[in-house]
Amino acid sequence: MITQHVAGRRRPPGRWRAALTGWAFVFPAVALFAVMGVYTIGSGLALSFAKWNGFTPNWIWVGFDNYLDLLYADPSLAPPLRKAAWNTGQVMVLVPLLTVAISLPLAVVLNSVKRLRAVLRSVYFLPYVTSGIAVYYAWRYILEPDGAINLLLRSLGLGTLAQPQGFLGNPSTALPTLIVVLVWSSVPIATLLYLTGLQTIDPALFEAARIDGAAPRQLLRRITWPLLTPLTAGIVLLGIRDSLHGFQIFLIMTDGGPGGHTDVLGLQSYRLAFFKGLAATLGVSSALGWLLFAGALLLTLANARLLRRVR
């Protein structure tokens, strides 16, 4: 393809020239980050040590007060925060766990069949492609008191499981329901990752093990699972991150209700930032954001260590 063969123009580029080329390639990314990232991270961090309502000209510096208020000092902030943290924690543990528990077997079975594989793969991916506000409303629609899920349960003779107030209206079923919807929307990517991972495993490995008399279950435990561990780590990591960071689904489907039973940390920070009128809650919101950051970092490091030990 490249036909410019001008021997005379070839000169060994100096070190500085290579450096310049490299920097030129990363320049747009760095420039964008300098505009959108440096200032926002800096001012966000600074704001977490101040009180401000977004309108007054000056910030009032309060040191670590925002953080202490969130953790225990302010009786109007700390208790709901603890509740939201508990909810977030459940989501963070259960969503990645259930996602792996569903998507890995699904991928293994899908990989073992020939017919319909491509069609099923597309069908399984539908929840990811449609995930977002539109499909969350579809879920709300079928979770209504007279909605499709209750109807289905009654027609299957499982009427006792139906929720007359709707699944999102009942405080004890709202959070588990949202967890199910979250798992439903994160299974597609995980399944596809596992499926592609399975295709990278050398079939000769299975063949050799089978000749040695290994049962299918042993193949799964001794070959498939260990070889897919890095993928599992990635899926769990992204799941933890999404659970800690994401709150769009909570905002749209329940807005934390009923009675704070589906409140999560991201949602609290969002409300403190944008829906408190003239109250000086922007600093606290920022502080909460940074607590989330610290949490995500710690969990990731712990997760990485744990998985390394398992391997």
Binding site: Q4, T21, I102, V135, R241, A273
Partner: protein, 271 residues
């Protein structure tokens, strides 16, 4: 063995039904009349009608919102591909001071929660005078995809044999040309994967869009959908019609690109 296969297909079919279930009701709700959607009732509508879809499309300026969504998503995908393919190329094959540090810095941004950045971004954009414009959405969206995009694209470029680059260099090609004529075409599946992974969340983005866009003529589809719900009991046939309008283009895009998408993911895992 045969029983095992039947059980396998049973599992696969069951999960296929679970995957499409809410979507089936979305379609069913969208073609029901207002009376029928209130009854709850059956998946298959008794009197299917296009009317809801048509009126929802017309009354709610969906052409306008659709175009806005297309602009925001299109510019974001374009920006992501241009900015981070260049950077990832540098991280993958070029040698310059600060390469490793910069790479890990971008990847570590993965742990900065969106909500932590949301408020400062709004304050910054207010100061810059771009709050409430489409540019004010595109810039943070592009910046927000940096960690995963850099990670995936750098992996994809690294998996391209170095010999190709050496050969091109021996032929006197410059870096920009090698990037353009060797790496970009060879890594096309990875680019398509990134395009899909960027387009889907951008098309559906609701949080930053809601707190920054005030002018209804700049609304994207999710804001249009939200404005349908307003105060009273949602009219679910209209809501489902609007949802269907939002979801169909992304499904079409995915079906169109899925072959590349899967290959790109495969390349990213191997790399």
């Amino acid at each position: 063995m045969r029983a095992g296969r039947i059980a396998g297909y049973a599992v696969l079919t069951a999960y296929a039904v679970i995957s499409v279930y809410p979507f089936l009701w979305m379609v069913s709700g969208a073609v029901k009349t207002r009376e029928e959607v209130l009854e709850g009732g059956h998946l298959i509508p008794r009197l299917p009608t296009w009317e809801t879809l048509v009126t929802t499309w017309n009354q709610l300026h969906f052409v306008e919102y659709f175009r806005n969504s297309l602009v925001v998503t299109g510019l974001t995908v374009l920006g992501v591909l241009v900015v981070y393919s260049l950077a990832s190329y540098a991280f993958a094959v070029l040698d310059f001071p600060g390469r490793r540090a910069l790479f890990w810095f971008f990847v570590s941004l993965l742990f900065v929660p969106g909500i932590t950045m949301l408020l400062p971004v709004v304050i910054l954009e207010k100061n810059l005078g771009i709050l409430g414009s489409h540019l004010g959405l595109v810039l943070p969206f592009v910046n927000g995809t940096a960690p995963l995009t850099v990670l995936l694209l750098t992996g994809a470029y690294r998996s391209i044999p170095k010999e190709l680059r050496e050969a091109a260099r021996a032929d006197g090609a410059r870096e920009a040309r090698i990037f353009w004529s060797v790496y970009l075409p060879l890594a096309r599946p990875a680019h398509i994967t990134i395009a899909v992974l960027t387009a889907v969340p951008t098309w559906n983005e609701y949080v930053l869009t809601r707190v920054s866009i005030n002018d209804p003529s700049l609304y994207t589809l999710p804001l249009g959908l939200q404005s349908l719900i307003s105060s009273q009991v949602p009219r679910y046939n209209e809501v489902m019609a609007a949802s269907l309008i939002i979801v169909l283009p992304v499904i079409a895009l995915f079906l169109f690109l899925q072959r590349y998408f899967v290959n790109g993911l495969l390349g990213a895992i191997k790399g």
